[in-house]
């Protein structure tokens, strides 16, 4: 396995980023006349202090695991998929559609159908950007941003159609059939919204780890991410690897949308709660695209979110402090990348 020293080296940068962000957060809190230690203890109790807060933390972490994996597998193939947000919304809508409209009495079957269909929707959404990049060289970052908005707008259109819309002011669907609901983990805490989607997310992390490190196909994806020219010489289809990496990521983001609908909200609403897609970017960056790292950092960001909500309630510090911390972490990691992986290598790319 990996030598300890190397592991420590790899953990150093994320640790520094965290420390840096915490220092800034402390300064901000102190400037606003609050006691940083008090805030920290509220944060801690709000995220881990009770079964209730723990459940909140894990509930927030569930979609972040999936969207974090979405970004991570794209990065492994050298592509930056910042369209998790849109892929999630597509998945969420499809899940609500099938959850409301398809009469399946078997609960397990109904949920599985919704999850898979949502995943496929997300996969197609991301796959479009993948194909445009691999075949035409159109930048995946721009296209995934554009596809995000196309997803928001088209689901907004669809949910307003009489076929889907629940009568009333808000553009939302009816609640999904009970057979399509993902069971909540009430054994943790009675009124929690934490649901079995957590296990799906962790299972997905395991699966992605296996695919990336144990299969020939995952090996090809990683090769393409590191050196597409040598990969081509090494008889790897770069185009196929890129498209598949994007689509798998989109699938996961789509599943995240389904989890939100079937396990938490019970319906699709437009605009759909925002931020898990972009949160996934922070998660993947901090986890350095490692699937298990994604689980850990997603739970960390989940804890920040639920702790932040607590802080918002009981102190004068707004919960958006958490978003600021996330942004600082990303900025710091962005710089760190330079010093390690993206150090310019001596390379002369040949003309095609």
């Amino acid at each position: 396995m990996m030598p300890t020293q190397k592991l420590l080296e790899r953990l150093l940068a994320p640790a520094l980023a965290l420390a840096f962000a915490m220092v800034i957060a402390t300064v901000i809190v102190a400037l606003l006349g609050e006691d940083p230690f008090h805030i920290a203890s509220v944060m801690l109790s709000g995220s881990l202090g009770s079964l209730r807060s723990l459940a909140n933390t894990l509930e927030e972490a569930t979609p972040l695991i999936l969207t974090g994996l979405c970004v991570a597998i794209g990065m492994q193939s050298g592509l930056f998929n910042i369209g998790g947000e849109g892929q999630l919304v597509v998945g969420a809508f499809i899940a609500a559609w099938l959850g409301v409209k398809v009469p399946v009495s078997n609960a397990g079957l109904h949920v599985a159908l919704c999850l898979v269909a949502a995943g496929i929707g997300g996969a197609i959404w991301a796959g479009i950007a993948g194909i445009l990049r691999a075949k035409l060289g159109a930048h995946e970052v721009i296209n995934t941003i554009m596809l995000n908005y196309v997803a928001f707008i088209s689901t907004n259109y669809l949910v307003n159609l009489p076929y889907f819309k629940k009568p009333g002011q808000i553009p939302q669907t009816f609640d999904v059939a009970p057979s399509a609901e993902i069971p909540r983990l009430t054994f943790v805490y009675n009124y929690t919204r934490l649901n079995a989607g957590l296990f799906v997310a962790i299972g997905a992390a395991l699966l992605i780890w296996i695919v990336l490190s144990k299969t020939s196909f995952g090996f090809e994806i990683r090769c393409v991410g590191h050196n597409p020219v040598a990969s081509r010489v090494g008889a790897i289809s770069v185009v196929r690897s890129m498209i598949l990496a994007m689509s798998i990521g989109g699938f996961l983001a789509g599943v995240a949308g389904a989890e939100r609908v079937l396990g938490v909200h019970k319906h699709f609403v437009s605009p759909f709660p925002f931020g898990y897609g972009f949160g996934g970017i922070a998660v993947a960056l901090l986890a350095r695209n490692n699937p298990f790292g994604v689980v850990v950092t997603a739970i960390f960001f989940g804890a920040l979110a639920s702790g932040g909500a607590q802080v918002d309630m009981v102190t004068s510090i707004p919960r958006e402090l958490v978003t600021v911390i996330q942004a600082i972490i990303i900025l710091f990691i962005a710089c760190e990348y330079l010093f390690s992986r993206y150090r310019p290598r001596m390379r002369v790319l040949k003309d095609e």
Binding site: L32, F80, I82, L132, L136, A138, H139, V141, I142, N143, I145, M146, L147, N148, Y149, V150, I153, S154, N156, Y157, F278, I281, A282, L285, S316, P318, E320, L321, V322, T323, V324, Q326, A327, I328, I330, L331, I333, A334, C335, Y337, L338, Y342, P344, M346, V348
Partner: protein, 299 residues
């Protein structure tokens, strides 16, 4: 046909211009940054900073022009953050942009609650807003002057030639003694200033600041820049087109069979089509997204 004649009216044209103004500012900003070789997907965040700082300064000083200046200053400051991180520390330009957008959503609402005691929005009094000058507020005219000025700068001045050169082929510029990274830094700061002004337009026009009030207009501005083939006049045209689509969908709401969303989606779809090169391919600056350093051995 009757529908069409009734909706195409003076008020629709005025609405088109009003919708286009923030896009013109921000896409012109995008031009300065991207043409120098630095991707700026942080326009959205920079606009949001501009919207908030413009509103908050005007709110406290009761001087709208100070608000506009404040927005330009804070926009430039965020621009210099992007420049410092991506050029000075050579961070990934996309990641930095994502962080700035996130910082924009977080910090503006955070600060709003700090300054306005727990509120996530606030209104400007009549005296805190820019007065109308003819049918528009003065920022509208400034936007057009800025875009046209950027075009003149770009194609008729020494600075413009150099800005485009460092974005296309930094090494060629460097071999002629042009300071590549200094020009890029200035381009990105200018980008932030423009985006900040575009953000300031929003509360100045609507009379209030609200959480996430840019609502993706930074990304539409990016789309306008790309659809306008990375040049200021093209971006101006695209901004007006997108503004028209937006104004039209508002006018048509409830009146026509065409769903509003079909018009909303226009900017994004045409941008993807242009980028893919299906019709009138839009080609990005040659060195966009790439760091430049002089000493790279050629083996």
């Amino acid at each position: 046909m009757n529908d069409v004649t009734t909706v195409i009216s003076i008020s629709l044209l005025l609405a088109t211009v009003r919708k286009a103004v923030p896009l013109i500012f921000a896409s012109t900003g995008g031009f300065f940054s991207e043409r120098s070789g630095v991707i700026n997907i942080g326009l959205e965040g920079m606009m949001l900073f501009g919207a908030f700082s413009g509103a908050i300064v005007a709110f406290f000083t009761h001087n709208a022009w100070l608000g506009v200046l404040g927005a330009a200053f804070i926009g430039g400051l965020i621009g210099s953050l992007h420049a410092f991180v991506t050029i000075g520390l050579r961070a990934n330009q996309i990641i930095s942009g994502v962080a700035i957008n996130l910082l924009g959503t977080g910090a503006t609402i955070f600060l709003c609650q700090v300054f306005i005691h727990g509120e996530r929005s606030f209104s400007l009094g009549q005296g805190d807003r820019l007065p109308s000058l003819g049918p528009f507020i003065p920022l509208t005219y400034i936007a057009f002057i800025l875009a046209i000025g950027a075009a003149i700068f770009s194609y008729y001045t020494v600075g413009g030639l150099r800005l485009r050169a460092v974005g296309e082929h930094p090494r060629a510029a460097d071999t002629q003694g042009i300071k590549v990274n200094r020009i890029r830094f200035m381009g990105v700061v200018a980008s932030g200033i423009c985006a900040g002004l575009g953000g300031a337009y929003l509360p100045m026009f609507s009379g209030s600041f609200a959480k996430n009030m840019t609502a993706g207009q930074g990304f539409i501005a990016l789309a306008a820049l790309i659809f306008g083939k990375w040049n200021p006049i093209g971006a101006l045209g695209a901004s007006l087109l997108f503004g028209f689509a937006d104004a039209l969908q508002e006018t048509l709401q409830g009146r026509a069979h065409l769903p509003a969303q079909a018009l909303q989606v226009v900017p994004y779809v045409v941008t993807m089509v242009a980028l893919a090169g299906v019709i009138g391919r839009s080609i990005p600056p040659g060195a966009i997204g790439k760091h430049y350093e002089r000493e790279q051995p050629e083996i």
